[in-house]
């Protein structure tokens, strides 16, 4: 049996390899998706004070550190048994919306636009953001500018763009400065124009991608996402909803503290990424998806006018419950628009400039859970502490993990449809990578396990000098 490997899977966040096995007729017999990085956060945070957790867990991911800080701070709020002051809650929502904008802009413009605009079969050496800069500098500038808009708002609030220390248990550590508010409001029209341009370009290209839409994950799954009472998305503080592929509610209004009754985690032998499943159905049948596509399937409406206009068109094209994983891109662009609208709404709330932004307390509960929507989907932090506040146990269920089973399935479907071993072309493999990109996975987020030593490797410097003997896992 012949094996094709995509190693590394490029233009994604994280380390992965895909192995594709072909039978004697050149047809795909099997695919394997290996996430190849492991880190160990859940274990090595044991013993650390709970209030360090937002800072440590931010380092799970450089793209969505804000998501980890927020989920972590919410778990810490629960341990302190406090509700942050109203201005702090608004500011947390604001920084979260800014992160959605920068993260979704990165996914679309920097990572996936090269496939969508230059073509899946285009020259791999140019199929990247630099190729977009050469080919369509207006679009590249719009994308870079939109990402900057989100990052600058984060920096304005939190003093740094990546791994800031501003989100703290009990709230945030400084109020919004009026000049940051003014500057952000002034930047909204350009940000909005960039999001509109992305949507226009994407919708204009949809016709070209009928085959990808049909075969990038057409299998029905459940969907999960957070909404408020009205069924609108609430990325910061919604309750968890599960819907069937038919659109029927499978489980509604689940609070963070009840997650363990609904989400189980399975270990898989060939990847460091665990596979969460819907517990009432069980493993492996309880497959569900999270992230932009799932959120749009779970919600009734965005609750902001421009995003809702686009949502009506999206649903007119593809229905109320959209199944193709290719359309993660489309859903992501709608959320980008909603994020910009949300930023404007929040900045226009008078209470956003409130000076009281932090509740102070020490340990008042020995367990806390925090749940939010990260850009890639539902994120859960769960800590148990002792009375001194030292973390004794930690569980993290990270957005991309929820999609593990569905992604595995979809990779198989894409490979079987597009790869012909008798007439092999690079673009066939790129479509498999592109399926993974559609999910916008955050694979370094999704693996927090650690290694098992039983092989010894010699670490040598480049001139051959022995540095250290190191035990290796398996």
């Amino acid at each position: 049996m012949k094996k094709l490997s995509i190693h590394p899977v490029t233009r994604i966040e994280g380390h992965a390899r895909i192995d594709i096995f072909l039978d004697d007729n050149g047809r795909v017999a099997e695919t394997q998706f290996h996430v190849t990085q492991v880190r160990g956060f859940e274990r090595f945070v044991e013993g650390r004070p709970y209030y360090e957790m937002p800072g440590i867990t931010a380092r799970i991911c450089g793209i969505c550190p804000i998501s980890h800080q927020l989920a972590s701070a919410k778990a810490c709020d629960a341990i302190m048994a406090v509700t942050p002051p109203p201005a702090a809650l608004k500011l947390r929502e604001l920084v979260h919306a800014a992160q959605f904008v920068q993260s979704h802009a990165l996914s679309f413009f920097h990572l996936s636009a090269p496939d969508l605009l230059l073509g899946f079969d285009s020259d791999p050496a140019r199929r990247n953001i630099f190729g977009i800069i050469e080919e369509n500098s207006e679009l590249a500038k719009a994308g870079i500018g939109l990402r900057r808009f989100g990052q600058e708002l984060i920096e304005g609030l939190a003093q740094e763009r990546v791994h800031p220390g501003w989100i703290v248990p009990g709230g945030v550590n400084a109020p919004l400065r009026p000049e940051v508010r003014e500057k952000t409001l002034a930047g909204l029209p350009v940000a909005r124009a960039a999001a509109d341009l992305a949507l226009e370009v994407f919708k204009g290209a949809l016709e070209k991608y009928q085959e990808e839409i049909a075969h990038f994950g057409s299998e029905p799954t459940m969907f999960a996402g957070l909404t408020n009472d009205s069924g609108e998305p609430d990325w910061y503080d919604g309750l968890l909803q599960f819907r069937e592929a038919s659109g029927a509610l499978a489980a509604a209004d689940i609070r963070a503290c009840d997650y363990a009754g609904f989400i189980g985690e399975a270990a898989l032998r060939d990847t460091y990424m665990k596979a969460p499943y819907f517990k009432p159905v069980g493993y492996p049948a309880g497959v569900y998806r999270v992230g932009p596509l799932a959120r749009l399937n779970v919600m009734t409406a965005f609750g902001t006018p421009a995003a809702d206009r686009e949502l009506a068109e999206y649903r007119q094209r593809f229905g109320e419950c959209v199944k193709s994983s290719f359309l993660y891109h489309y859903a992501r662009l709608l959320e980008l628009l909603h994020g910009i609208e949300k930023i404007e709404l929040l900045l226009n709330e008078p209470s956003i400039l409130g000076k009281h932004v932090r509740a102070r307390a020490s340990v008042n509960a020995l367990e806390g859970m925090g749940m939010i929507e990260a850009p890639r989907g539902v994120l859960l932090h769960h800590y148990k502490v002792d009375e001194s506040g030292a973390v004794r146990w930690c569980n993290l269920i990270v957005a991309t993990g929820h999609n593990n089973l569905a992604m595995n399935h979809d990779i198989g479907e894409v490979a079987r449809h597009f790869i012909d071993g008798n007439d092999f072309k690079e673009g066939m493999l790129n479509r498999v990578s592109a399926l993974v990109r559609a999910y916008d996975p955050c694979l370094s987020c999704s693996t927090h396990a650690n290694g098992m030593p039983d092989v010894v490797v010699a670490l040598r410097s480049s001139n051959g000098e022995l540095i250290r003997m190191v035990d290796c896992h398996h």
Binding site: H15, Q151, I467
Partner: protein, 176 residues
């Protein structure tokens, strides 16, 4: 003028250093005029190419994949830059080092799973027992600390390297 062949690599890190690199914003367009990115998470190369002028390496050396890649990077690159605290000191990647690895794995994949319990053992790279900084494995030409290093620091480093100078970092970067 020949473009400088730039590679970026991501070992055991969080991508924050790469994000800080993108945080140069529109300067990326100017940089692209003088630099060709021939390998890294932003481009599609499957193999680390020969004849790289500058390699920016984020993350610590933590798995067999990392170890293989960093040796290849050293052999095929004129200048290797350790970008960010994980590459420079091990930082957060090395926080796992005091813990016995076998127990950790069982904690995650046996105790921490409710179905199909068991440690991954097929098709995943061996994990080194300790995550080590890049300089413990290969010679590093330049260390750029920070978690992450600030975008303006990365832009300065790239600008100098493109001009064929080794940058004097002075007080332009700091740890953490």
């Amino acid at each position: 003028m020949r473009k400088v062949r730039l590679a970026t690599a991501w070992l055991d890190g969080c991508s924050g250093c790469h994000m800080s690199m993108l945080d140069v914003d529109e300067a990326l367009i100017e940089i692209a005029k003088r630099v060709e990115v021939v390998y890294g998470p932003l481009v599609d190369a499957q193999e680390f190419p020969k004849g790289v002028d500058v390699a920016l390496v984020e993350g610590a050396v933590s798995s067999q994949d990392d170890l293989d890649l960093i040796h290849t990077i050293r052999q095929r690159s004129k200048i290797v830059v350790a970008l960010g605290d994980c590459a420079v000191t091990g930082n957060v990647a090395a926080m796992r080092n005091p813990h016995p690895a076998r127990k950790l794995l069982e904690r995650i994949y046996v105790e921490g799973a409710q179905a199909n319990r068991g440690v991954p053992n097929a098709g995943v790279p061996a994990l080194l027992r300790q995550a080590v900084p890049v300089q413990e494995v290969v010679k590093v030409d330049l260390h750029v600390p920070g978690c992450p290093p600030p975008a303006r620091g990365i832009a300065y480093v790239l600008g100098e390297l493109v001009e064929g100078r080794i940058p004097d970092l002075g007080c332009k970067v700091k740890f953490g």
